[in-house]
Symmetry: C2
Subunit: 185 residues, 2 copies
Amino acid sequence: MDTFAARGYNNASLAEIADRVGLTQAGVLHYFRSKALLLTSVLELRDQRDIEHLGPDRPQGLDFLRHLVNTALRNAEREGIVRLYAVLSAESVTDDHPAQDYFRDRYDGLRAFVADALREACELPADRADLADNAANAIIAVMDGLQVQWLLSPDSVDMAASTDLVVTSLLVSLAPERFGPHAAG
Amino acid sequence: MDTFAARGYNNASLAEIADRVGLTQAGVLHYFRSKALLLTSVLELRDQRDIEHLGPDRPQGLDFLRHLVNTALRNAEREGIVRLYAVLSAESVTDDHPAQDYFRDRYDGLRAFVADALREACELPADRADLADNAANAIIAVMDGLQVQWLLSPDSVDMAASTDLVVTSLLVSLAPERFGPHAAG
C-alpha cells in the first residue's frame, strides 16, 4: 500500500515492494502472480477494512450522509490510505490500467448508495431521480477532489468542513421544506 | 499532451513522444532539456490557452462562478485536456513528482480566486473568511472529482449539472438573503 501510494501503480517496482517485505520478487509473485493482481488485492484489502469499520448495519439515509462527513474527518488522520486512493483512482483513467474496472464499478456502487441516501433523506419524488444522481456524483467528487488538494497543502484544506458544507447545502437545496431555515424541525 | 494524458508522467516515454512528433529523443531534448521540463511546458501551454479563452477582462464575483460552470460544460467536449489534468494533478502527490509545486501553486491561486468571487457575490463579512475558503475548496474539488468519474463513465456523469448544483446550493447557503427562495430579487 505504501509503495503504490508513494509512486502510483505504473511507477511502483516489484523489486522495492519485495525488498520492503523481506521477500524476493519471485517470492512476492508466488503469492500474487503479477503486479496487477497485487494492486487489486491491495484495493480489496482497503475496502474490506472500510466495510469492517462500518459494522454489520450500514447506515441509511441521512445517517449515511453523516457517515461520509465523518469519513472525511477520519481521512485527515490516514494520509497513506488517502494518497493510495487519490493517486490510483486518477491513474486508473490512463490507457490499459489494471484498476480501471475496479474504480468504474466502485463509483457506480457509491453513486447508487449516495443517491439512495439522498432520496431517502429528502423524500425526493421519482421524477427527480436525475437530481439525486447529480447530487450524489457531486458529493463523491468533492470528497475525492479535496483529497488531492489536502495532500498538497494540508494546512489550507479542511476536508470535513468542506464536505459538511456541501452535503448540508445540497440537502437544503433538494428539500428546503425539510432542511431549510424555515423547516418545521 | 496526448502522451502525458494517456500514460501519466512517470509512465510516459520520451521515445514515444519523439516518435509522435517525428523527432529523435535528442531532438526533443534539444528543445526541452528533460522530460520534467517538457511536462511543465505542456501544463503552461494549457494554462495559456485557458487565459486566452477568458479574454483580457477576467469575470468577477458571480460571473466568475458562472464561468466555472461553463468550464465544466466545455470540458465535456475536450476529453484530452481533462484527462491530462486529472491524471497529472493526482500523480503530482507521488514522491518527488516534477509538477508538485506547479499544482500546489495552482490550487493556491484558484482557491484565492474562487474565495474572492464568493465573498464578492455573497457580500460575506470578514469574520466569515473561513467559510469562503471552505466553499472555494469544495467548488474546485467537485470540478476535479467529477472529471475522474466522467472519464471512467461519461454516460453516468453530467459535470456541468453537478457543478451548477453545488455552486447554486453553496450560494444559497452562504447568502440566503441574496440567493435563497425568499431573496428580494
